[in-house]
């Protein structure tokens, strides 16, 4: 059976939904950040899959997305460490102060 673009899109959608569920339900911020990575990867898969139909632009964009993911992970984890130092927790529902 030929593997078409649609197959890839289904995988990407599955990853996206899993990521969304992870962001919404988990308490641990580290895992929420990982779920965001999952979502970004789903997007990437879509971009690369479509690049097979419409040219290389999708691949180039997926590289930008990876760059963004790196920046997001670095800043997110930095905030997390700063927060953890002060509150000794990484649970999202306990992060309820604007200033600490």
């Amino acid at each position: 059976m030929e593997i078409t673009t649609l197959h890839y899109l289904v995988v990407a959608a599955a990853l996206f939904i899993i990521g969304t569920v992870g962001v919404l339900t988990r308490r641990n911020v580290v895992i929420i950040l990982m779920s965001i990575e999952l979502i970004l990867n789903a997007v990437n898969l879509n971009l690369v899959a479509f690049s097979r139909l419409y040219g290389l632009h999708g691949q180039v964009f997926s590289i930008f997305v990876i760059t963004d993911a790196a920046a997001e992970a670095a800043v997110g984890l930095g905030i997390l460490i700063a927060f953890f130092r002060n509150k000794e927790t990484v649970n999202a529902d306990e992060i309820d102060l604007l200033k600490f």
Binding site: H7, V11, L24, V30, N41, N44, S51, A70
Partner: protein, 169 residues
């Protein structure tokens, strides 16, 4: 060279990707989640290779798996406390999550059903041998401005991360 056994590879990689993704959000121990994330990312790199995007696959491995996940693991080791694993891992938003998941699922199905017609039926056959060169050219010619902005973003991210994580500035 013609690919062999493509469907099997695809299904195998897709299964690994999705199952590990589920493990990412289900595991109690964040380190296990991170390891599951590695499997997802690696199988996605495999899928990129199948899509004739070797450069993106290489970047995926070297940046995501070699860089970002190492960062995740590093931070988990810094803040992993046993007591945290004994707490409730999920908050009470399961209803919201279910709705969101269902909504997204419906949306995707709708898009696929509607959009099937507008996808070109035949894929472009890329010359795999020159993929890197072509991507490079595009990055530096067509997408020069986004490229520079991305570099600026990374600089800001470096500064931000250092400011955030440093104890005393």
């Amino acid at each position: 060279m013609n690919p062999v056994a493509t469907p099997y590879f695809f299904y195998g990689l897709a299964a690994v990707a999705v199952l590990s993704a589920i493990a990412v959000i289900m595991r109690r121990n964040p380190v296990h989640s991170a390891i599951a994330l590695i499997f997802t990312l690696l199988s996605l790199a495999g899928l990129y290779l199948m899509l004739y995007a070797p450069f993106v696959a290489g970047v995926q491995i070297i940046l995501y798996v070699g860089g970002i996940v190492v960062l995740f693991l590093f931070v988990i080791m810094l803040i992993n406390i046993d007591s945290m694993q004994r707490e409730y891992q999920f908050n009470k938003q399961w209803l919201v999550a279910l709705l969101a998941a269902a909504g997204l699922g419906v949306l995707f199905v709708a898009v696929y059903v509607k959009g099937q017609a507008i996808f070109p039926q035949h894929a472009i056959r890329f010359v795999e041998e020159k993929n890197t060169q072509q991507v490079g050219k595009m990055l530096y010619v067509d997408y020069l401005l986004p490229f520079e902005i991305a570099s600026l973003l990374l600089l800001v991210a470096i500064v931000g991360a250092v400011v955030m994580a440093k104890k005393r500035i």
